[in-house]
């Protein structure tokens, strides 16, 4: 419950303050959000599986974001930023979907 409240609090702060993101950081924002979502769904699934570990969650969240941003950065430098972004989105998207599928199995037995 507390993490959910924290999440809502963070979203609220972000929406209310609307801090200006520097231009050089903007291309990484969407991909970082996808990576973060992947970490969140992984965590929820781990909680439902009964094997949640906060350290693993924090590390996987941070490393997901950093690696995703790095891939996009590298892609931009190599001139294939769009393709690499698509690749990252596809991989993380598949993970998110199967995590959500297993969360669904836990919650609804369906």
């Amino acid at each position: 419950m507390i993490p959910a409240i924290g999440l809502a609090l963070g979203i609220l702060i972000g929406l209310l303050l609307q801090p200006a993101v520097p231009v050089w950081l903007q291309p990484y924002l969407p991909i970082a959000v996808i990576a973060a979502l992947d970490a969140v769904f992984g965590a929820v699934r781990a909680i439902l599986d009964g094997i949640f570990d906060d350290k693993v969650f924090v590390v996987s969240f941070l490393s997901n974001v950093v690696v995703a941003a790095f891939i996009v950065f590298l892609g931009d430098k190599l001139g294939v930023g769009a393709q690499l972004s698509t690749g990252v989105v596809v991989v993380l998207g598949v993970r998110i979907f199967s995590n959500v599928a297993s969360i669904r199995r836990h919650l609804f037995n369906a």
């Binding site: 999440l7 963070g10 929406l15 992984g42 094997i51 570990d53 991989v91």
Partner: protein, 284 residues
């Protein structure tokens, strides 16, 4: 396919299972508490990221749209400026003409001055003549045409078409010609910049309306029978360019704006008629 299978079958970070196993062997519960401070911190950070991303990415004006808007505003600004300056120039030209009339009223050269001014395009003219309206073929104009289909551009009115038609008009005996209200003079040029047509440094917008004054009995017929007429019918028949000609008894051709000569001079000094009537009442 093993990459896809691993991706689909074990999407959960194996680190969770490993950590759980480790804790179990150490005699602790498999799952940790959800109240660890670093967890809360990470979650707030995550929410912040999502919120910031949401507010930034839904911001209505991307920099590109903003720049576009700025440019459009600039264009409109400049256009109003041009219109204002044009109006002012026309007004000043009328003033000059009036002053000339006062000056020459006594000397008696007014008639000649008027005539020359009319010929070079310094005054507005009325008379019989006809108009030609030309427009791009349906579906071929710059904003409609499929950029991947070079065929579509063939139905466009090009600068060379206007040039040809105007030359044919002069040839058929036109005495004054204007395109979209821009009087053609001895200083005029019909050019293009990309898909835009430009007359005397002013961009034209479709449709293109050419007004020509001339002998009502012969001029329209001469034009239609000559090169101009056949050129227009080719444009219409082969490329679908919309062409519409209309003979009229009373047409107006506006005065030209900016008849300024900077370097060319009349050779003589004594003949008052030629030195006063030339359009060099400019910068100096």
């Amino acid at each position: 396919m093993s990459l896809l299978t691993t991706m689909l079958q074990r999407p959960l970070d194996p680190g969770y299972a490993a950590a759980a196993d480790r804790r179990e062997t150490a005699g602790m519960p498999r799952a940790t508490s959800l109240r660890a401070p670093r967890l809360i911190l990470a979650v707030v950070l995550l929410g912040l990221m999502v919120g910031v991303a949401a507010s930034n990415l839904t911001a209505s004006d991307s920099p590109r749209a903003q720049a576009r808007k700025d440019l459009i505003a600039q264009i409109e600004d400049r256009r109003t400026q041009v219109d204002e300056l044009t109006a002012r120039a026309t007004q000043l030209q009328t003033e000059v003409a009036d002053l000339e009339a006062q000056q020459f009223g006594a000397v008696g050269d007014l008639e000649r001055s008027r005539e020359v001014a009319a010929t070079v395009g310094a005054v507005e003219l009325q008379g019989p003549g006809f108009t030609i309206t030309m427009d791009d073929a349906p579906g071929s104009s710059a904003d409609e045409a499929d950029p991947n289909n070079p065929e579509a551009e063939q139905g466009r009115v090009y600068a060379k078409d206007l040039r040809f038609v105007v030359n044919a008009l002069w040839q058929a005996g036109a005495e004054a010609v204007s395109i979209n209200g821009n009087r053609l003079t001895s200083l005029s040029a019909i050019r293009f910049a990309g898909p835009a047509l430009i007359v005397d440094n002013r961009p034209l917008t479709r449709p293109y309306l050419i007004t020509a004054l001339g002998d009502p009995a012969r001029f329209p017929a001469d034009f239609a029978d000559g090169e101009g007429g056949s050129y227009l019918s080719t444009l219409r028949g082969s490329f679908g360019v919309r062409v519409d000609t209309k003979v009229s008894k009373e047409l107006t051709v506006p005065a030209a704006v900016g008849l300024n000569l900077l370097y060319a001079r009349t050779g003589d000094t004594g003949d008052s008629a030629s030195s006063t009537a030339t359009p060099e009442r400019s910068s100096s």
